[in-house]
Symmetry: C2
Subunit: 279 residues, 2 copies
């Protein structure tokens, strides 16, 4: 059946999976861990920017893992490592590897390679780019990537205070979009704005106090949306020198979840990007 | 200090709090449990549709509980029970009551009273109403209520398959909006649509396959948005006889979180409701 049984959580062949609880594998090996069938399907598809190195499946999910690999090989769309290894472990070994119950029973190890420079991600022509400043919550980053994919953002730029989109939980919440939407991470918000402006992007800062309503913006062809945290928002020094747009809300309850706010703004800004026929 | 110490999780004075893990207190006593400082502040304010019966605070949060009550009494905005009781328990008792660690250390018991009939919630004049069909996930219902409050929805109608907005977790995710936005729950989606149409609302069904783009709708004064689950969506029998609108998305990744989708649709539909000067 071409499966590698693992009976011992200390087996060196699954060593990288034992770090699943760590938030940040970057510095270590340039690896990441993806979780669940939907995300693994994406990682094994041509849409993924990253390559899988191996799969670790609970016994009950071994058949699914074989199917996923066979399908990817049949399509021939990506270079899989010669015989992408599938390790199979009992639920007990699986849980002890992760330190918590992994309900979905399917993990994959991926190689992230080197993160690109922001400038390398900015395409020519009409484009929508999203910038994240200080977003340290993995759920929020995952949710934002899901929206970025849905609304055709060309890239997501994250400042150095924002968290890693390739952390397992962020990938899961993004439903795999963190594997498909190009991103860079590092530097300051000022540097990010400088790069965007230098490449001809008009930068719109999202803020509840923005003088311009999202409903009224005539979007330029090259547009970037900048989003800060739910609590603090974007730094005043940035807001004061950028075009700042607000989401109109009912009086007295001006509170939106960050992912929802990003979705609303991306939906408003994406017009010509995903539907060239309208403005 | 006017606090009631509780040394025993079995103390009958805190009996209702012991059911915090139950999803549905409705049938039992018409009670609900709210959690956390932000939500309690709202429950103790004039914005809440419901009255608090008591507070249960961990030792470290007793001062906050006293402050919250004093502030509500000072405002005199609501009828508090004569001396709203504040029970104080050790973290150990608190955790054993809940069966899990309550990190926020502040709970309140509220009385829900009788849920109104849907028709009683529909105001005269221009209004936006939200209808939920089969939304059984408490996170989603909470997220949707947060958006309904942000965009000035007059009411949320839930069918009988949708879950209770007054379940603790839904209230928490809604940041208290489940306590402020009027709602009804019960009956079928067909009955809901009938009630809305009978009161002069045009009903728009949100669906990825909708022939009309949300960008292009000229919203009538009385408008209702109908939202189904992330997976199944709304029943085809409903979609076929309602005006169905879609959120335009990039090709190949037409997946949005339900709360985000509801936020985008409410933002598009709320125009004249929260900003009478524009269409």
């Amino acid at each position: 059946m071409d499966l590698i049984p693992i009976d011992d959580a200390e087996d060196p062949r699954i060593e990288p999976y034992r770090h699943i609880r760590e938030r940040d594998l970057i510095g270590r090996d340039g690896l990441f861990i993806a979780e669940g069938e939907v995300v693994l399907r994406l990682l094994l598809s041509a849409h993924s920017r990253f390559r899988p190195l191996s799969i670790l499946a609970a016994e009950g999910r071994a058949a699914t893992a074989l199917e996923l690999r066979a399908e990817a090989e049949r399509r021939g769309a990506i270079d899989l490592p010669i015989q992408l290894p599938i390790h199979v472990a009992s639920r007990r070994v699986m849980d002890s590897i992760a330190g918590f119950p992994i309900h979905r029973g399917l993990l994959a190890l991926g190689r992230r390679g080197t993160d690109p420079e922001p400038a390398a991600l900015l395409p020519a022509g009409p484009a929508l780019v999203l910038g994240l400043v200080g977003i340290a919550n993995h759920d929020n980053v995952g949710g934002v990537f899901r929206n970025a994919a849905a609304f055709g953002a060309a890239a997501v730029l994250l400042d150095g205070q924002s968290c890693d989109p390739l952390y397992r939980k962020a990938i899961r919440v993004s439903v795999g979009a963190a594997l498909t939407v190009p991103f860079s991470r590092g530097g300051s918000a000022d540097e990010m704005v400088g790069t965007l402006a230098g490449h001809g992007f008009e930068v719109f800062a999202l803020s509840p106090a923005g003088p311009e309503s999202l409903h009224d913006v005539a979007w330029p062809a090259r547009r970037a949306l900048l989003v800060g945290t739910e609590g603090e928002g974007l730094p005043p020094s940035l807001l004061s020198r950028l075009r700042s747009v607000r989401i109109d809300m009912a009086p007295g309850f001006d509170s939106l979840n960050l992912a929802t706010a990003s979705g609303i703004a991306l939906h408003a800004a994406c017009g010509t990007v995903i539907r060239p026929s309208r403005n």
